[in-house]
Amino acid sequence: MRLRAIGTVLRREFGAYFDSPIAYVFLVAFVVIPNGLFLFVYGAQRQLSMREYFSLLPFVFLFFVPAITMRLWSEERRAGSIEILLTLPVRAGEAVLGKFLAAYAFLVVALAATLTIPISMTMFGSPDWGPIVGAYLGAILMGGVFLALGAYISSLSTNQIVAFIISVSLSFLLVLIGYHFVRAAAGRLWTFLADVLAYLSVKTHSDTIARGVVDTSDVIYYVSLIFLFLMLNVYAIQSRRYAG
């Protein structure tokens, strides 16, 4: 892995987001909806908390993140530009990481844009900063999982829309298996399964985020899932070279 090669791909991909109007539309939606939500919650409960926002975040990410990742590889394959990319002196792993980090950077920009919420909170009183900072860190980690999953799915299809729908579905599944009713059903089959599903679900780990706690076990969970999906992504790209 060479940083320069990764950086080259990152720069190109990050720039590509801002060459299309979809990115701006999404940024606006990503900022307007949470801000509105915050005002709504504040109006109803007079609470200076972002807890509602962060507990909804997995569902916002569900749609937002696959939209960021859907074109990463599928468009490259559809247009054939992958042929130039992979015949440049750039390793598959470097290209995968560069694209993932570009999408990550875009997500961080989007999250940073929602900082208007905590900033506006200071106008209403003094919010508790600890949980907010913790929740933002957690959100970045959780976003990474959805990004890595979406990027991997994008490498499997030449159609962006197909990549988007499959990514949303799988991301949804990753959240859904953490819900009580799914775990209860699974527990009736096999008790151990309920615990496995609970551990595997993003929801379990994002719940602790909403409370503003970033646990080491959560960090390990997020980082290993990101790593897993990135490895699958590299494998998907490499195996196409051998395909026949």
Partner: protein, 325 residues
């Protein structure tokens, strides 16, 4: 410089490249010829490390394409057939991206970019979006990205397709120029192009190599005969007999009647016979009149068709037999 040994590539049950071997030495301009789907593009994709062959070994600049893929890619410039560029970028940004990805040191990038911009005539388009470029400019940008790191080896898949005649002449001249110092492999359907640019020709058909020769060598293969077409006004059967009996002529056939009482004849003679002179003498001595006389030299087209058609027939016979079995 490039060595391809017994390379086979299959896509499912289709054999795209079938046990192909050839070597290319430094400074050669190699034309890669064949009908669509013959395996030219697949071979080029293997050489550029985009895909991996099922069998055989390929080395480029003494590096194995699988084990030292990165070293191979550093030394090769590649223009894929469909010229797949990033259409969302501006031309200048695209070239900057490629220069960076090609590991050109920061200080030399501007110089490298202006060199290829000059060579490929991209000057007026630097600020334009890649997606807005005409076919000709896209092709030039594709060529520019392949040349930006001044590679020893250039692999160009149909570099002149879609260009207008004056652009074709320009690009050919550029390839010839590049061929003085570099090894160039380029594929084409245009046979004229091969004689205009290449020092050597490989003809590939149905995945197999069917010829490996110089353009002149290939023409000689077409045989030792030459064919002349002549229009004469005179009694048809008598003219045909007289022409057939003329010295050096192997055969004469009446093609058909033309305007003004003329008939067209096809005269086959030995190569090197001054056939025009003899036919003219004959016509004058008989008091006939001559309207047209042209001699056709065996063309690369003839060789190409002979080589690829012959192969195709046997191949399809084989596969039919296989299906029945």
């Amino acid at each position: 410089m490039i060595s391809v040994q017994n390379v086979t590539k299959r896509y499912g049950s289709v054999v795209a490249v079938d046990d192909v071997s050839f070597d290319v030495s430094s400074g050669e301009v190699l034309g890669f010829l064949g009908p669509n789907g013959a395996g030219k593009t697949t071979t080029m994709k293997i050489l550029t490390c985009f895909i991996v062959a099922n069998a055989g070994t390929v080395t480029v600049a003494d590096y194995d394409v699988i084990e030292h893929s990165l070293e191979v890619r550093r030394r090769v410039g590649y223009l894929p057939e469909s010229v797949p560029l990033y259409t969302d970028m501006r031309v200048i940004d695209y070239l900057r991206f490629i220069a960076r990805a090609r590991e050109i040191p920061a200080k030399e990038r501007t110089g490298a970019i202006s060199r290829v911009v000059g060579e490929c005539g991209l000057g007026p388009m630097l600020g334009a979006g890649v997606g807005e470029l005409s076919k000709g400019y896209r092709q030039r940008l594709g060529l520019a990205q392949a040349m930006i790191h001044d590679p020893d080896i250039l692999i160009l898949d149909e570099a002149t397709s879609g260009l207008d005649p004056s652009q074709i002449v320009e690009i050919r001249a550029l390839i010839r120029e590049l061929g003085r110092e570099k090894t160039v492999i380029f594929s084409t359907h245009i046979l004229q192009e091969v004689s205009a640019v290449c020092s050597r020709v490989l003809i590939i058909n149905e995945g197999r190599l069917v010829a490996d020769d110089t353009p002149d060598g290939l023409r000689d293969r077409a045989g030792r005969e030459q064919t002349s077409i002549v229009q004469i006004n005179g009694p048809a059967s008598e003219v045909e007999r007289a022409l057939g009996a003329a010295p050096g002529v192997r055969a004469c056939t009446l093609v058909g009647a033309k305007q003004g009482g003329y008939h067209e004849y096809r005269v086959e003679s030995d190569q090197g016979v001054a056939i025009g002179e003899r036919l003219f003498e004959l016509v004058r001595s008989q008091g006939w009149t001559l309207n047209e006389l042209r001699t056709e030299r065996a063309s690369l087209e003839d060789v190409f068709l002979a080589l690829t058609r012959g192969e195709a027939t046997t191949e399809s016979d084989d596969s039919e037999a296989g299906d029945e079995a």
